[in-house]
C-alpha cells in the first residue's frame, strides 16, 4: 500500500471512529480479550480493503460522470470490450480475495481450538434469560467442588480461557459478548461452545442475538471479569450456606410468602419447609421451557430478568459499572446493598412481570402450551406481600 492510500484509509477510519459513540458497551471494535482481539485484527484490514475498493469505485464513477457528460460529442466508438483488460480486472479482485481468505481460514481454525481452556461454564438459553452454571471441576481458579447456578451474569477470572458450553431449553438463542468473542447460537438439542477470555477486570455487556420471540430485545447478559482473588471470594460466597431471616422481621414473613408463592418455580438453595425438609422447586410443572432463575444469591448480581433491568438504583449503578478496572471487582462483590436496591423495578416485576417484560405468560394464550407459562406469570400479589418479598430477596446475598 502506498503512503497516500494509507493516509486516506486512516482518515476514513478516523471519520468512522468519530462517528462512533464513546463507550458503547457492545462495541465490537473494543476487544477486551485475545479471542475478540484476533477477530478485530482480522476485520480491520478487511474493512480497510473494502473501504479502499469502495472509494476507488466511487472516484472512478465520479470521474466518468464528469468527464463523459454529453457535451454534444459524436456518437462514441461502439467498443464491445477488451478481453485482456477484463481478465486482468477479474484476476485482481480474485487475488485480493485470496489474500483475505488465507488469514480468515487461519483465524477460524484458531478460534475453534478450545483445547487450552481452563474453566468450563455452562449457559442455557431460555425464553428470555440465561441460566449460567459452573459444574464441579478442577479448573476455574482453585476448582469448583459444589455446582454454582446463577443467571444473567457470568463471573469469570481474568486471564483464564473459559470454555462456554451452551444449549437451549426452547428456541434458538445466541450468546454474544462482543468485547470477548463473536456469537454462538445456542440451539436446543445441541451443545455449542464459545471460548472467552478477558484481559482486564470489567463488566462486559452482551445481548441475545438470535430472534427468540416476544422479549428477544429483553434478553441480555453480562460477563463480569475479576481478578482471581476476587473470583475466589465470589465463589465462596455463592456456596455459603443458607441463612433464614431473623425471626419476626418483614423478611421472615417474606420467606413464608416466598415458600407459598415462588418456591414452586424458583429454587433457593437451603430453604426448608416447616418440617425441615429441603424445598425443591419444580418449575417444569409451571413453566413451558422448564426452568426459572435460581434466586439463592439474587442480590450478588446487579441486573435481573434476563439482565434487562437494574437491581441497582440509577445512582448506584455507575459506581459499579463505571468503576476502574482496579476496583470493579470489589465494587461488584459488594452486591446490592439496601440503600442501592432499585426497589421500583423489582416491585414492578413482582407486581406484574408480563406487564414489564412481554411474555406469553398471559392466560388467554396458554392453550398451545397446555397451560404452562412462558416466562414469569402475574401472580396477583398484594402490595404487602410484595413488601415482604422485597425484604426477603434483599437478604439473598
Amino acid at each position: 500500500m502506498n503512503r497516500r492510500v494509507r493516509i486516506a484509509a486512516a482518515v476514513g477510519l478516523a471519520a468512522l471512529v468519530a462517528g462512533c459513540a464513546e463507550d458503547a458497551p457492545q462495541d465490537m471494535f473494543q476487544p477486551a480479550g485475545p479471542n475478540a482481539q484476533s477477530i478485530y485484527d482480522l476485520s480491520v484490514p478487511v474493512f480497510i480493503i473494502a473501504g479502499v475498493i469502495g472509494v476507488i469505485v466511487m472516484v472512478f464513477i465520479a470521474i466518468i460522470v464528469v468527464k463523459f457528460r454529453d457535451r454534444g460529442q459524436a456518437i462514441p466508438d461502439q467498443v464491445h470490450g477488451k478481453p485482456t483488460l477484463e481478465i486482468i480486472l477479474t484476476i485482481i479482485p480474485a487475488l485480493i480475495l485470496i489474500g483475505v481468505a488465507i488469514p480468515t481460514v487461519g483465524t477460524i481454525m484458531a478460534l475453534n481450538d478450545t483445547s487450552d481452556t481452563e474453566c468450563v461454564i455452562n449457559v442455557t438459553g431460555q425464553q428470555w434469560w440465561w441460566e449460567i452454571d459452573y459444574p464441579t471441576q478442577s479448573g476455574c481458579g482453585s476448582g469448583i467442588d459444589q455446582p454454582i447456578i446463577t443467571s444473567g451474569q457470568m463471573v469469570i477470572p481474568i486471564g483464564t480461557p473459559v470454555l462456554v458450553r451452551g444449549t437451549s431449553r426452547d428456541v434458538i438463542h445466541s450468546w454474544w459478548i462482543p468485547r470477548l468473542n463473536g456469537k454462538r447460537d445456542m440451539v436446543p438439542g445441541r451443545v455449542h461452545t464459545n471460548r472467552i477470555e478477558a484481559d482486564e477486570p470489567g463488566i462486559y455487556a452482551g445481548q441475545c442475538t438470535e430472534f427468540c420471540g416476544l422479549s428477544h430485545a429483553n434478553m441480555r447478559m453480562e460477563v463480569i471479569a475479576m481478578t482471581p482473588e476476587d473470583f475466589e471470594a465470589w465463589k465462596l460466597n455463592q456456596t455459603k450456606p443458607y441463612e433464614s431471616p431473623a425471626e419476626g422481621t418483614l423478611a421472615a414473613k417474606g420467606e413464608q410468602t416466598f415458600i407459598s408463592q415462588c418456591a414452586r418455580c424458583h429454587q433457593v438453595n437451603g430453604l426448608e419447609d416447616a418440617d425441615g425438609a429441603p424445598i425443591v422447586s419444580r418449575p417444569d410443572l409451571s413453566v413451558y421451557s422448564g426452568a426459572a432463575p435460581n434466586l439463592t444469591h439474587l442480590m450478588t448480581r446487579n441486573t435481573f430478568a434476563g439482565a434487562a433491568y437494574n437491581l441497582l438504583t440509577p445512582e448506584c449503578r455507575p459506581k459499579v459499572w463505571n468503576a476502574p478496572s482496579e476496583t470493579v471487582g470489589a465494587e461488584y462483590l459488594k452486591g446490592v446493598t439496601p440503600d442501592c436496591l432499585n426497589s421500583v423495578e423489582l416491585r414492578e416485576w413482582l407486581r406484574n412481570a408480563p406487564a414489564k417484560k412481554p411474555m406469553y405468560a398471559d392466560p388467554t394464550k396458554l392453550e398451545a402450551t397446555d397451560g404452562l407459562t412462558r416466562g414469569m406469570p402475574n401472580l396477583a400479589l398484594s402490595e404487602d406481600q410484595i413488601d415482604e418479598l422485597v425484604a426477603y430477596l434483599l437478604e439473598r446475598h
Binding site: 468512522l16 463507550d23 464513477i61 464491445h80 483475505v100 477460524i108
Partner: protein, 668 residues
Amino acid sequence: MAIIERPTDTPALAGAGAAVTPSSSYGNFRRPVQATGWKSWAFTVDHKKIGIMYGVVAMVFFFVGGIEALLIRAQLAQPNGTILSADKYNQMFTMHATTMVFLFVMPMAAAFANYMMPLQIGARDVAFPRLNALSLWLFVFGGIFINSSWILGGAADGGWFMYAPNSSVPFSPTNGVDFWTLGLLITGVASQVGAINLIVTALNMRAPGMKLMRMPIFTWMALVVQFLLLFSIPVITVALFLLMFQRNFGANFFSVEAGADPLLWQHLFWLFGHPEVYILVLPSFGIISEVLPTFSRKPLFGYPFVVFSGAAIGFVGFGVWAHHMFAAGLGPISVAVFSVATMAIAVPTGVKIINWTLTMWGGKLWFTTAMLFAIGLIVQFTIGGLSGVTHAVAPSDTQQTDTYYIVAHFHYVIFGGAVLGLFAGIYYWWPKVFGKMLSEKIGRWNFWLMIIGMNMTFGPMHILGLQGQPRRMYIWTGDRAGDGFFDLAFWNLVASIGSLVLGIGAFLFLVNVWVSRKNPPAPADPWDARSLEWLTTNPPKEHNFDRIPTVHTLDEFFHRKYEDVGEGDQHDYKQVATGAEVIELEEKYADAHIHLPSPSYWPMVLAISLPIIGYGVIFNTLLIVAGAAIAVLALFGWALEPPTADESEFDPPAPDGDQPSKELAVSV
C-alpha cells in the same frame, strides 16, 4: 382476440360471417374474448397486460411494505419506543420483509420479465400464455392471502427466515405462521410456473437470428433468475411443507423433544434463501445493463463477460448458503469452506461493476432519470457488496451477524441494488409500456430524495451495528447507547428521519405517475435505444411486432438506425434512419396472419382455488374440499379448452361494420 389479419381493411372476423352461432356455447360463460373492459384484463393471457398487472400489484405491495418499514423506524426512533407492542413489532418486521421480498421485488422483476422478455427476443407472447395468467393470479391471491392474516388473528411473527423451533405452535400460537407458510407455498407455485414458462420462452421463442449470445442482457439475466427460481423454489417448498405439517398435522420435524435438529430448517431455508437474494438483484443488474449502454450511446462493455458472470453468480449462489449460519455452530471446516466460497462470489459480481463503469467510460452520457437510477445502483450496490465481503470473513461475521450491520448490508444491496434497478427500469420502459413520458423533473426529485433517504436510513445502520445494536429488537435502551453526541440514540434518530425522506422520495413516484397521466404520446424511440423491444410502437400492439424481426447482431435496433461509415479500424457512426422510420418500415411489411392465444377463465379459477384450500387448512376442512373441487374443475376446463378460441365465440362484427378494436387499449 384470436386472429388478427393485417393489413387488410376488412373486419378481422368478417370471415366468420355475420350469423355467428357459438358452436360450443356456454351462454354467459363463453370465452371472455372482450378486448376492452375489466374482463379484458382479468382473463387476459397477453403477456403485456399480465406484466402491467404484475407491476401494479407489486407497487401496491411496495407501499404496504414501506408503511410497515416506516412503522418500524417510528418505533425505533427513540429509546423504549411505544408505538408498537413487542408482538406487533415482531409481526411488522416479519411482514415487512415478506412483503418486500416476495410480494414486491420478485413480482416486480417478474413484471419486467413478462413484459420485456418476449419483446426483447422478438416473440409474440410467452410460451404458455395461460400459465402466465395463472402465475399472475396465484401471486395476487397468495399476496392477499398472506396479508389477510392481519385481520384474521395476527400476522406471522417469526422473522422472515422463520427459524425453527420458534415457528412451532407453542412459540407462535396464532395462525400467523400458517398464513405465511401457506401463502408462500402459493406464491411459490406462481414463481415455479413462471420460471418454466419464461425459460421455455427465452430458449424456444427467439426470432430468427436471435442467437443466445445476441439476446439482450436483461433477457439473459431474467433467464438466469428463472433457473435460480426453478431450482430453489422446490427447496423452500419442502421446508414450508414440513413446517405446515408440523403446525397443522402434528408432525414433528422441528420438535426438539422428539429428537429433531433445528438446523434442518436453516439449511433448507438458506439453500433457497441465498439464491433468492440473487433472484432479487439479477433482474436489476439486467435492467441497468440495458439502461447504461443506451444512455452512454455505447454497447455494453464485455457483453459475454456480463452474461457469464451472471450465470456464474447464479451457479455459485447455490453453494454459499451456510454463510447465514456462521454462528449456528457448523464446525470449523464447513465454516471455512463456506467463507471462502462466499468470497468467490464477489469476483463475478465485481466483473459486472467493472463492465458497467467501462461501459460508461468513453461514452456520451445522457443523465435521464433512468440513467441516474442506474448509476445510483452501481454506487450503492458496491457499498452493500463490500460490506457483504466483510461478512464473508466468518470470524468477523460472528461479531456482525444479527446486528444492524447486516441490516445495513442487505438494504444497500436490496434497496441500493434491486430496488434502484427496478426504478431505473420503470423510468426507462415507461414510455414503451404506457406510451407516455414520465416527468423527468419529478423523476430527478424522486431519485435524489430516494438516494439521500436511503443513505440516511441505512448508512447509520452500519455504525449502529458495529456498535453492537442487534436487529429484531422491538426496543432499545438508552443504557447501552453509549455516550457522546454521536451515540446510538442519535444514529437511530437519523435513520428514522431518513426513512421519512425515503418515503417521500418513493411517494414522488406516485406523484409523477399522476402528473404525467395526461402527457402527450411518447415519441417512437425516445431514448435512441438499442434492443428489440423498441422495434415496435409505444405501447406495443397486441401482437407485439407487425413482422417478426430478423436479428443480425446484438443491439439490433441500434444497428438498424446507425451505420458505420468509418474505414478500417476507424469507426464512425452515422444515423441512417430514425427509430420511427425503422418501425414504420416494419409496419409496411407486416405479416398477414398473426395468431394470438385467446383469453381464458381457467387460470383465475385455478388460482383462486389454492387460497381457498389454504383457508381450509387453517379454519375448516370443508373449505379444503371445496377448493380442491374448484381446482379439479379448473384443470379439466383448462385441459379441454383449445388455446385459441373458436371464431364462433366472438361477437359478430358490429352492425355498422365498425372494425372491432384490435389495438391494445392501454389505460393506467
